[in-house]
């Protein structure tokens, strides 16, 4: 805003905004701190804020006693795999809807969106049974496919809104110069669409990484990702706050950083272009 504001007022609003921000962020900060505490100090009364004996032992314990790394790898495979599959399917689809729209393109888009409205519990029984018959329960392939299908409408929508903003004349010009459809996509469209594709990829990794219904219900151990690993901490087994915090820190840190980078584009993806 171009209005001139007094320094006093700016100081006051700054203080208020920072107070709110720190309050909302505090649980995450507290988790990070607790991850570096020895277990007894993690439950000390009164709580110790910074003056504890900093240690990395929890991270080592979590990995050695609970096999953290295996879950981490599963999370990466499932998140990246479903994103790659989704992008491979959605780029051509979004391209064709954005540049060669037909009479029913809008209906098609709305229909894709409607598949996202299906509550997961509504189809839990058939998916579970199908996976059981096909031997896909607790398999990374099965989970990757489910997460791809789940997020496919969002990917298509997000790419569509980005592709829509690329001027069609440039593609016409390339076509005039004799570029084939394949070349047109690879050499003209892709470089222009790359920023949009990048933020779509980021959002989809975040969504897949944090998905906590199918990943918990369709896995046991082999394909179990971090959501399942963390959910395993729900039964109390003595002193474990520091280990829970260490595991949580490792599970959320990569996504938190990706989220910070993609937050500007996030709004568009999460509202299907309704708010930009």
């Amino acid at each position: 805003m171009a209005r001139t504001t007094s320094i006093q007022r700016k100081s006051l609003t700054t203080a208020a905004a920072w107070a709110v921000a720190l309050l909302l962020f505090f649980p995450i900060l507290w988790t990070f701190l607790t991850a570096f505490k020895p277990e007894p100090q993690a439950v000390a009364s009164p709580p110790i804020f910074l003056g504890f004996d900093w240690t990395l032992q929890n991270f080592i314990d979590v990995n050695e006693q609970r096999d953290y790394f295996r879950y981490f790898v599963n999370s990466i495979i499932i998140a990246l795999g479903s994103t790659a599959l989704g992008i491979a399917l959605a780029v051509p689809a979004a391209w064709s809807m954005a540049f060669v729209p037909g009479a029913r393109t809008k209906d098609l888009l709305m229909w894709m969106l409607s598949t996202k409205m299906m509550p997961a519990v509504g189809v839990l029984v058939p998916i579970y049974l199908m996976f059981n018959w096909l031997g896909l329960l607790d398999s990374r392939i099965g989970l990757t496919v489910i997460l791809t299908l789940m997020n496919l409408p969002i990917i298509v929508w997000m790419l569509y809104t980005y592709f829509k903003e690329i001027p069609g004349e440039i593609l016409e010009a390339a076509r005039m110069d004799g570029a084939s459809l394949r070349n047109e996509i690879i050499h003209v469209l892709t470089p222009m669409a790359l920023p949009g594709i990048a933020s779509t990829v980021l959002l989809n990794i975040i969504l897949a990484w944090n998905e906590a219904f199918w990943t918990i219900n369709l896995t046991v151990t082999d394909a179990a990702p971090l959501t399942k690993f963390i959910a395993g901490f729900s039964s109390p087994q003595g002193l474990f706050y520091a280990k829970l915090s260490a595991a949580s820190t490792l599970a959320i840190a990569p996504i938190l950083i990706m989220g910070w980078f993609s937050q500007k584009q996030l709004v568009r993806g999460l509202t299907f272009g309704a708010v930009k």
């Binding site: 921000a21 649980p27 689809a93 409607s114 509504g122 058939p126 906590a212 963390i230 829970l244």
Partner: protein, 290 residues
Amino acid sequence: MATQSSRTAARLMLSPTVILLLIWMIVPLAMTLWFSFQRYNLLYPDRAGFIWFGNYVNFLATPAFVGAIFNTLILVGGVLAITVILGIAIALLIDQPIWGQGVVRILVISPFFIMPPVAALIWKNMFMNPTNGLFAEAAKFIGLAPFDFLGQAPLASIILIVAWQWLPFATLILLTALQSLSSEQLEAAEMDGAPAFSRFRHIILPHMARAITVVVLIQTIFLLGIFGEILVTTNGGPGTASTTLPYLIYKEALLDFDAGTAAAGGVVAVILANVVAFFLMRAIGKNLDA
């Protein structure tokens, strides 16, 4: 203009996505409907057969059913009320000229990226635990008896946790809408002597109306499916005090192995979600034309 061949190519590029989504939409739903009319318990697979609406009667007659519907609505309504009201307030605050706006934005948005089981367990253990959670410590510090949040007020505690996760979403979207408001209009109103509240009431709020609608509808879709948070905090308890529709269906299916009744519950959940979806699609569809 697109040629005939590029049109054909476009249809070909579109078809894999459409076909997959068509299968994804129709097959599981058709199977859910099918199972909802079957007697089918995973423990006794041979005792199967068509039983008309028997599963629906079973599911609707489950003692927890009415409570689960209410709990679902209270959870969704409670989280919506908190996130929309606080979301507007925080968006208005952050939109002011402040120092370190970028960092503030990042801190505010952060809870949204925390995976549901992590968020729920952090709150359950490190904050709400009645013996050594931070809330209990704070209560002791000011001389009060610690409160057993998840034991005494399970649903309210879950609402608090979920609201913490979704407040960033509401704030971010409302802030984006707020930033597209032209400052001339506000300045003109200020010149004319309109007090802050009426500027908010007559300019800012109408401008944010669409964003608020979108926030409410999208959150409703996600909140109707809240599952992980309940699973790791209360397991639907104590008793059925925090059992929602999704958790009840999960319990029928994977704890009681009654696939038929769970499928009937699934159909109920689909109907409920579709009522909401109908309005969401209208709101988004309208925007597509603009």
